[in-house]
Symmetry: C2
Subunit: 207 residues, 2 copies
DNA sequence: CGTCTATTTGAATGTACTCAAAAGCGGTGG
DNA sequence: CCACCGCTTTTGAGTACATTCAAATAGACG
């Protein structure tokens, strides 16, 4: 079994454990039987990357969509002046990648970097199309997933616009209670669209 | 034929003409044969609303997803202090509604208002599920549509954060050249996340 | 323990806002 | 067809939230 081999390479003793995250996440939207899970597992690959390693750099075509099984991936892009803008922190059970680059097979403008040692499941463009073909339910799965993500992105965008920096920071801490400990301040600042300097001042104000 | 009757009510002489917008838009993603188009037309309804009329108000459940056939729909939400935040202008060929409210059947936080006399095609939740059932291709259609929309929303969000008000205004004019003439300044301001006062000053600076 | 990077702090600045008032514009009724 | 009313846009003056730049301090990693 390919998956077992991959996991052996990664020195993971319990294959089931690491994929449980994925099935739990997928299971919220569609139900997979044993044979479908086998098909799924024949199409995915599991990889591990170290802290600070890159999954994707601007200029490359994004060859895979990834689900984080363990760890955390930060997505960001840069403007002309090397300012970084963090767009997303993907943690356990979240999909990440660059949809635009992936589906259009065009160079990406994003960077994907591991904030910690991270285990991921990945699907190439071809494998993704095979997945849709072999298990059409996955069209539905990703349709619903994208719906939810769009709703979340729009809602985030809205609060970002409607509230000031201090309230956005409060909201961030509520929505991602554990993330603040896992992620350096400057990246949270760039996610909230403020300077690290100012976030530091906000933090002081609170305590 | 139901559709013909509806169109008769709307005093539209050419049914094909008004739906051409829809088929052109859908045709970019999936191909429909004649019988599929018939099925589609048996599920949709066509409505017309006057300028300033509402499709949806905050507190209501969004019962339909709409495609604009002719006209323009503005979506916005309000904060506690009655400030309006415009999230989208839907023009010919665009879908609009409130995805979150529609798919979860929960009260919406958005308002949808016609900027002009507007013709729309609409699908109820039930009809939408029937559409997925009868023509599974539509799972794919909406999956790809949502992908594209997510990419667009994220990209908009990114430029909004990365650029200052003046450059965002420039970009808006490039991306929606005709819209500026169709839509009052104050709504463009609330779309760009600035005050009408400030947008007025920006406009003066340019010319 | 030293080096490199991240965070904190201070001072000055700017972008965009608030509030208030004036001007412009469009629609409606006399 | 003009006059008036209400809503939108413009303009002015003062203000605030958040930034920049620089320097000091704290933390992390080898």
């Amino acid at each position: 079994m390919i998956l077992a081999l991959l996991c052996a390479n990664l020195r993971l003793s319990h294959v089931e454990n690491i994929l449980d995250v994925a099935y739990k996440s997928i299971g919220r939207i569609i139900t997979l039987d044993t044979s479908e899970k086998e098909t799924f597992e024949s199409l995915i690959e599991i990889i591990k990357i170290r802290k600070k390693e890159r999954l994707l750099s601007a200029g490359q075509v994004c060859k895979y969509e990834y689900m984080v099984l363990k760890g955390c991936i930060r997505s960001f892009y840069c403007d002309e002046d090397t300012n970084e803008f963090t767009t997303m922190f993907a943690i356990e059970g979240w999909w990440t990648g660059d949809l635009g680059s992936f589906y259009r097979q065009m160079p990406s403008e994003y960077y994907l970097v591991a904030m910690e040692e991270t285990y991921l499941l990945r699907l190439s463009y071809q494998r993704m199309e095979q997945l849709y073909e072999k298990i059409p339910k996955f069209e539905r799965y990703f349709r619903i997933l994208l719906q939810n993500r769009l709703i979340a992105v729009e809602s985030f965008q809205n609060t970002l616009q409607a509230l000031d920096a201090e309230e956005n920071y409060k909201l961030f801490r509520q929505n991602y209670p554990d993330l603040e400990k896992r992620v350096p301040l400057k990246y949270i600042a760039s996610y909230l669209g403020i300077t690290p300097t100012y976030l530091s001042r906000l933090r002081k104000r609170k305590s």
